[in-house]
Amino acid sequence: MERLLALWVESLSEERPDGSVLRDYLRVLDAVEVLCPFVEPVRLGLCTLPLRGPSRFFGGDEAVLAAVRQIVRDVLGLDVALGVAEGLFCAELAARQEVVLQAGQTTAFRRVQPLAVLGHKELATTGRRLGIYSVGDFADLDAARVAERFSAAVRVLHRVARGELAELPGQRDTRLRARLRSARGEDVMGDEQVSFFGQRSAGDDRARAAAHRVRHRLGPEGVLVARLRGGRAPEDRASLAPWGSPSCDERDDAPWPGRLAGPSPITSLHQPVAVELRDDADGSVSMGARGSLSAAPASLVFAHGSRRGIVWFAGPWPLVERWWASGRRRAHVQVLLDSGEAMLLSAEVGRWWLVGIYD
């Protein structure tokens, strides 16, 4: 079973009426997502991420833990309890106890836990009478005997105690994802545009009618609405969809790690434009295999031949997504032209593309 890193922030585990806990929790998720797009919201105060990928990328468990700890401190000024174990049930316990278990240690860890961690009062009381104090003692009971003496709920807990089930019933808040989506404003797009305030206002209706008129005039692609999703580069995070098209959940496919830092370009080219970078001697500047430029770019040449002087550049920042699979390989470079215009370029499939303009 996969080793999970669990993040537990006790002060974020109970919602406050003003919704501030959900928002803070969302900020933690968004921040951690920069390290790992597969971070999973479990319930308020608790989230997990598979450790294997980030650990390989950051060079070990300790480095990932340190990065996560730092991120949560930066975002909320809070300390997070971190733990690593196999399966959600043990990962949460590990986080609360702040222990990092290596592969294969989880079963022993689970067995020594007090019976109360299964969260069933009746079982804990009866267990004491029967001389069963730990999860391991309970696990050792014969399943048929458990079925005889206990309710269906306890039979499920018995399977958790034996490691046959990885999580407790109710450990996960099944409505959390929907709440997070609505806190992010992701469910309010499209034809069934609902106002932020829960019901459509008169203003929303007028806007819908106006959008209909424009769509009628210009066609289905005429009016667009914006959607934001997880992702690294501005051109990945942004999407403009025809107004009225069904919204879809695109978050699962968020690439990583680390967003491009600093401001994003206010023009993000829907269709990147092929360009060339040239050095002082008018030689072509390319991306080397080791992620560096073959020479300092001195000018930017467009396909139609026009040429602009480059006075400064930064990067390249490689974006190798899902390096364990054969993902897209890209690198970004920022250039400042002699006209004062700043642009974002991307190297992909062996050439340069203009992807954004900081107008």
Partner: protein
Amino acid sequence: MATLRPVTLAKSRLVPLSEPWASLTPGGGLRRGSTVVVHAQPGLGGLSVGLSLLSEASAKGHWAAVVGVDDPGVVAMSDLGVDLRRVLFVPRPRGAWAEAAADLLDGVDLLIVRPPSRASHGAARKLMDRVRERGIVLIVLTEPRAPWPLPADLSFHLISSRWIMSSRLDARYVTLRVSGRGEAQHRGEHVVMVPDVRGRAVAR
């Protein structure tokens, strides 16, 4: 969660602006029925300034539309504080920008238009009249090759800009002149940071 009342706001004479724009503008907001021009050389920051004017209004429940901005960087807009849930984009109206703008007049409180070429006197007059009649705000983004043919009620003229760099582009200082008719006269030159390192517009 705070409850907002767009209905009350709709009665107000001003569409709200966030800082730093509020303190550069007479009354701290955009007067309904007025036309605002944001004029800049391409690449100087005119688009960031223009779109940033939507932030406070969209956050307060007003709808906006953006006509003729080909490839809006919606991440940057979000960083500027624009609530994208209330923005309609009409990126490529082709020859029909004036018609598309007219279609939107009844649906939004703020209408941003970037005419693809120089607008005719007649088209500009007609649009400004209808904007006044409907009590919304028109924001026109112009550049030297496509100026707005009529005087605006308020104008932001970008004079120069300068990037601050470290190992990347961090922020940009934009020097602009604010001018206009009546109370908006002689508002003078100002320096605004847009975007700052977090993509926002802030007073220097």
